[in-house]
C-alpha cells in the first residue's frame, strides 16, 4: 500500500468540513474560534502536503504554513482578548445575544 497525496488530503478535507459545521452551528464565540482554528489547521496541512509531495526540494508551502501559524496565534490572541472584554461588559459569550451595536 502506498501513501499517496490523496490520502493526506482526505483527512484535511474532513477537518475543514468539521470546522465549517462548527462555525455555522455553535453559538459560543470561543467555540466558533475553535472551529476557525480547525479550518486554518486543515489549510496548513494542505500547504505542507502539496509542498512535500509535489516539490520535495522546495519549502514555500512550509514557510507559508509557518507564517500562517504565527498569524493564527496573533489572531486568536486578539480575538480572545476581545471576547473576554465583551464578556466583562455584557457577561455573555453567546454570539446571538451580543447585539447592542446592531441597528
Amino acid at each position: 500500500m502506498n501513501l499517496t497525496l490523496l490520502m493526506y488530503l482526505i483527512p484535511s478535507l474532513i477537518m475543514f468540513g468539521c470546522g465549517v459545521y462548527g462555525f455555522l452551528t455553535r453559538k459560543n464565540m470561543i467555540a466558533i474560534m475553535i472551529s476557525l482554528e480547525l479550518m486554518l489547521n486543515s489549510v496548513d496541512i494542505n500547504f505542507v502536503v502539496f509542498n512535500r509531495f509535489l516539490f520535495p526540494g522546495h519549502f514555500e508551502g512550509m514557510f507559508f504554513t509557518l507564517f500562517a501559524i504565527a498569524l493564527a496565534a496573533a489572531e486568536t490572541a486578539l480575538a480572545l482578548a476581545i471576547i473576554i472584554n465583551v464578556f466583562r461588559i455584557a457577561r455573555k459569550v453567546d454570539i446571538n445575544e451580543i447585539n447592542k451595536l446592531k441597528f
Binding site: V20, F23, L24, I32, I95, N96, N99, K102, F103
Partner: protein, 663 residues
C-alpha cells in the same frame, strides 16, 4: 484735469460703501456721517472737474467742434464669441458728463441733508444710520457706473444694482410693513421690466453682434457708428416677428426696461409706494437720479431709435399719456410725498416724450445735421428737473421732519414758521411750473417747441399738461404753507431745520434759479455738435400764459381756506375719487395678479407640482425605502449567516464550473 479721473469718481463711492458698511458700526454715527459727506465731497469735486474738462477743455474729445465720446478704459470681461464681448469700462460723452454732474450734486446735497434728517426718528436716535450712509454710497456708485457704461451689458448690470440699492433704501425702515411691501413692489415691478430689457439686449446683440455703444478706437462717437448700426438693422431687416421688424421689438423691449425704472404707465405703480423710504432717499433716487435711468437708456440708444420709428412711436404715446395721467392724479393727492412722486412721473414722461418726438424727424440725413432738438431738451429737462425736484423733496423732508406727518391736513400755514423752507419750495414750484427765469422754464419750453414741431396736437397736449403741472404744484404749495392757521402743538413748534438741512435747500434753490442759463444746447446734443436754438416766443409765451393760468387757479382755490375745493370735489366726485385712487391701477394689478394669475395659472401649477413632481419624487423615495426594508434582512449582523451565504456561493460557483467542465 485728466479724464481718467473718472475712474476715481466711480471708485470712491464703491470704497465708501465697503468702508462705511463694514467699519461704520465701530465708528459711531457722527464720524460715519462726516466721512460719508467728505467722501462724497471729493467725488463731487472730481466729477465737476472731469465734466468741466470734458466740456470746456481742448482735449482730444473735441474734433472740429464736435464732441466725441472718450473711452477712458474698457477691458474685456466676458468673451461670448470672438466679436461679442462684454466689457467693463468707463466712457465719457456729453450725456455721461452731464449725468456725472447731476448725480454727484444731488447725492452731495442728500448726504449733507441726511446728517440732519436721519439724526433722529421721532426724537429717538435713528437706527441703522451707518447702514443708510453705506447704502447711499452704494447707490451713488451704481448710478455713476450706469451713466459711464460703455456697453449694454454693463448698463444692465448697473441697472440691476441701482434697483438693489433702491430696494435697500425703500425698505430702510424694515420694521414697518408698508416699507417692506413698497420695497418688494418696487423690486418686483422693475425686475419684471428688466426681464424685457434683457430680452431686448439679447435680440439686439444677436443681430448687431456687439454690446458696445462706441466704436473700438474710442474716439468715434455713437453718431458715427450709426452707419454700422443701420447696416446691422437692415441686415436683420428681413427678420420680422408678428409684423414688426425684430429691431423694433428689441428696442421696444429695452424701452420697457427703461419704463420700469422710469415709472412709465403702466409700470409706474411702484414709485408712489417707494415714498415709504426716508425722504432724502426719495429726493436722490426716486426723484432726481435713478428714475431718469430709463430716459438715459433711451438717450444712450438714441441713434438706434432714430432708425426704428416704430419703437419711437410707442415711447411717444406712452410718454404723452403718462404725463397727463400722473399730473391728473397729482392734483388730488393729500400726501405731499405722493403728490410729488406723481409729479416726478409726469416730468419724466415729459423727457421721454421729448426724446421720442425728437427722433421722429424726417429722415436720417437731416438729423445728422442738427435736428434733435427734443433730445437736447430732454437732457436739459433731466438736468433742471433733477435740481428742482430734489429741492422740492428736500423741502418736503424738512416739513415732514418738523410736523411728523405726510398729510397736508397736518400742515397748513407753515409759511410763518418755516420761511426759508417756504421760499425754497416756492422756487421749486416756480421752476417746475415753467415761470421765467427759473430753470424749468428753459427746458420745458424747449420740450414744448420740439412737441409742436412734431405736430400741433402733441404740442397742445403737452402744453395742457404743463398747465396742470403749475396748478397741482401750487395747490401743494398753498396747502402746506397757507390755507389756514397752523394748529401749533405746544411740544412741537415747527421751525426751519438745522443748518445741515437748510444749506442744501439754499444751494439747490440757487441752482434752480440759474440752471436754465446753462448753455445746454451747446454742450449736450446727441451728435456732439452745438445746436443753434433760439427762444420760440410764440411757444414760450403760450406756455408761460398757461402756467400763469394754472397758478392763478390754484391761488383762487387754495390760497385761503374756502369752500371751493370741496364744491369742486362734490361736483366731480366720480372723477375726483378715481384720481384719488390713482384711477384704480393698483386695484387692477391686484386683480390681475391675485385673481387671474394666481388663481388661473399658479394654482394649477402648484397642484401639478405637488401631485406630479413631488409625487414622483415621493414614489422614488418610497420605492427605495421599501426595497431597503426588503433587503435589510440580509444585513442581519449575524456572522454565521454571512459565512453560510459565502460558502453556499462558493459551492454554487464550484458546481457551475464543474458542470461547465463536464459539458
Amino acid at each position: 484735469m485728466p479724464l481718467s479721473l473718472t475712474i476715481a469718481v466711480v471708485a470712491i463711492p464703491l470704497f465708501m460703501f465697503f468702508f462705511l458698511g463694514l467699519a461704520g458700526v465701530k465708528m459711531g454715527r457722527k464720524l460715519t456721517g462726516v466721512l460719508g459727506v467728505l467722501g462724497m465731497l471729493v467725488t463731487t469735486v472730481l466729477a465737476y472737474g472731469v465734466a468741466l474738462t470734458y466740456f470746456f477743455g481742448d482735449g482730444p474729445q473735441v474734433v472740429d467742434g464736435v464732441r466725441k465720446a472718450v473711452i477712458v478704459f474698457n477691458p474685456d470681461w466676458l468673451s461670448f464669441t470672438d466679436t461679442l464681448v462684454a466689457r467693463m469700462g468707463i466712457a465719457l460723452d456729453p450725456i455721461a458728463a452731464m449725468m456725472l454732474v447731476v448725480i454727484t450734486t444731488i447725492s452731495m446735497m442728500v448726504h449733507l441733508y441726511s446728517l440732519g434728517y436721519m439724526s433722529d426718528h421721532h426724537g429717538h436716535p435713528e437706527k441703522g444710520f451707518q447702514r443708510f450712509y453705506a447704502d447711499l454710497a452704494l447707490f451713488t456708485f451704481s448710478m455713476l457706473g450706469l451713466v459711464v457704461a460703455t456697453n449694454l451689458f454693463q448698463i444692465f448690470i448697473f441697472f440691476e444694482m441701482v434697483g438693489v440699492s433702491s430696494y435697500l433704501l425703500i425698505g430702510f425702515y424694515y420694521h414697518s410693513p408698508a416699507a417692506i411691501h413698497a420695497s418688494k413692489k418696487a423690486f418686483i415691478v422693475t425686475r419684471l421690466a428688466d426681464l424685457f430689457f434683457l430680452l431686448g439686449i439679447m435680440i439686439l446683440s444677436f443681430y448687431t453682434g456687439t454690446f458696445d455703444f462706441f466704436n473700438q478706437n474710442g474716439m468715434v462717437g455713437m453718431t458715427d457708428s450709426m452707419e454700422a448700426a443701420q447696416t446691422a438693422i437692415t441686415s436683420a431687416g428681413g427678420a420680422t416677428f408678428m409684423g414688426c421688424s425684430v429691431m423694433a421689438w428689441a428696442l421696444t423691449f429695452i424701452f420697457i426696461g427703461g419704463a420700469g425704472k422710469s415709472a412709465m404707465y403702466p409700470l409706474h405703480i411702484w414709485l408712489p409706494d417707494a415714498m415709504e423710504g426716508p425722504t432724502p432717499v426719495s429726493a436722490l433716487i426716486h426723484a432726481a437720479t435713478m428714475v431718469v435711468a430709463g430716459v438715459f437708456l433711451v438717450a444712450r440708444l438714441f441713434p438706434l431709435y432714430v432708425i426704428e420709428q416704430g419703437a419711437m412711436e410707442v415711447i411717444c404715446v406712452v410718454g404723452a399719456f403718462t404725463a397727463f395721467y400722473a399730473a391728473a392724479i397729482a392734483c388730488v393727492q393729500s400726501d405731499i410725498k405722493r403728490a410729488l412722486a406723481f409729479s416726478t412721473i409726469s416730468q419724466i414722461a415729459f423727457m421721454m416724450t421729448s426724446l421720442a418726438v425728437s427722433a421722429s424727424q424726417e429722415g436720417l440725413i437731416e438729423i445728422h445735421h442738427g435736428y434733435g432738438l427734443g433730445y437736447m431738451a430732454s437732457m436739459f429737462h433731466l438736468f433742471t428737473h433733477a435740481m428742482f425736484k430734489a429741492l422740492l423733496f428736500l423741502c418736503a423732508g424738512a416739513i415732514i421732519h418738523a410736523v411728523h406727518s405726510n398729510e397736508n391736513d397736518d400742515m397748513h400755514g407753515l409759511h410763518k414758521y418755516m420761511p426759508i423752507t417756504s421760499i425754497a419750495f416756492l422756487i421749486g414750484c416756480l421752476a417746475i411750473a415753467g415761470i421765467p427765469p427759473f430753470a424749468g422754464f428753459w427746458s420745458k419750453d424747449e420740450i414744448l417747441v420740439a412737441c409742436y414741431e412734431k405736430g400741433l396736437g402733441w404740442g397742445i397736449w403737452m402744453s395742457m399738461v404743463a398747465g396742470l403741472t403749475a396748478f397741482y404744484m401750487f395747490r401743494i404749495y398753498y396747502l402746506i404753507f397757507f390755507w389756514k392757521e397752523h394748529k401749533v402743538h405746544t411740544e412741537h413748534r415747527p421751525a426751519d431745520q438745522v443748518w445741515t438741512m437748510t444749506v442744501p435747500l439754499i444751494i439747490l434753490g440757487a441752482i434752480s434759479c440759474v440752471a436754465g442759463f446753462v448753455p445746454m444746447h451747446d454742450l449736450v446734443t446727441w451728435d456732439g455738435a452745438a445746436l443753434h436754438t433760439q427762444l420760440n416766443w410764440t411757444v414760450a409765451g403760450t406756455s408761460v400764459a398757461i402756467a400763469c393760468v394754472g397758478i392763478a387757479l390754484a391761488t383762487v382755490m387754495y390760497y385761503k381756506e374756502n369752500a371751493l375745493p370741496a364744491k369742486m370735489k362734490n361736483a366731480f366726485s366720480g372723477l375726483w375719487n378715481a384720481a384719488y385712487h390713482r384711477f384704480y391701477m393698483d386695484e387692477l394689478y391686484q386683480f390681475i395678479t391675485h385673481k387671474v394669475i394666481f388663481k388661473a395659472v399658479c394654482v394649477p401649477i402648484a397642484w401639478f407640482d405637488r401631485k406630479f413632481i413631488d409625487g414622483f419624487m415621493n414614489l422614488l423615495a418610497d420605492a427605495t425605502n421599501q426595497a431597503a426594508y426588503g433587503i435589510r434582512r440580509l444585513q442581519s449582523g449575524s456572522i454565521q449567516g454571512y459565512v453560510y451565504l459565502y460558502i453556499m456561493g462558493a459551492l454554487l460557483i464550484a458546481v457551475v464550473s464543474m458542470v461547465c467542465v463536464l459539458i
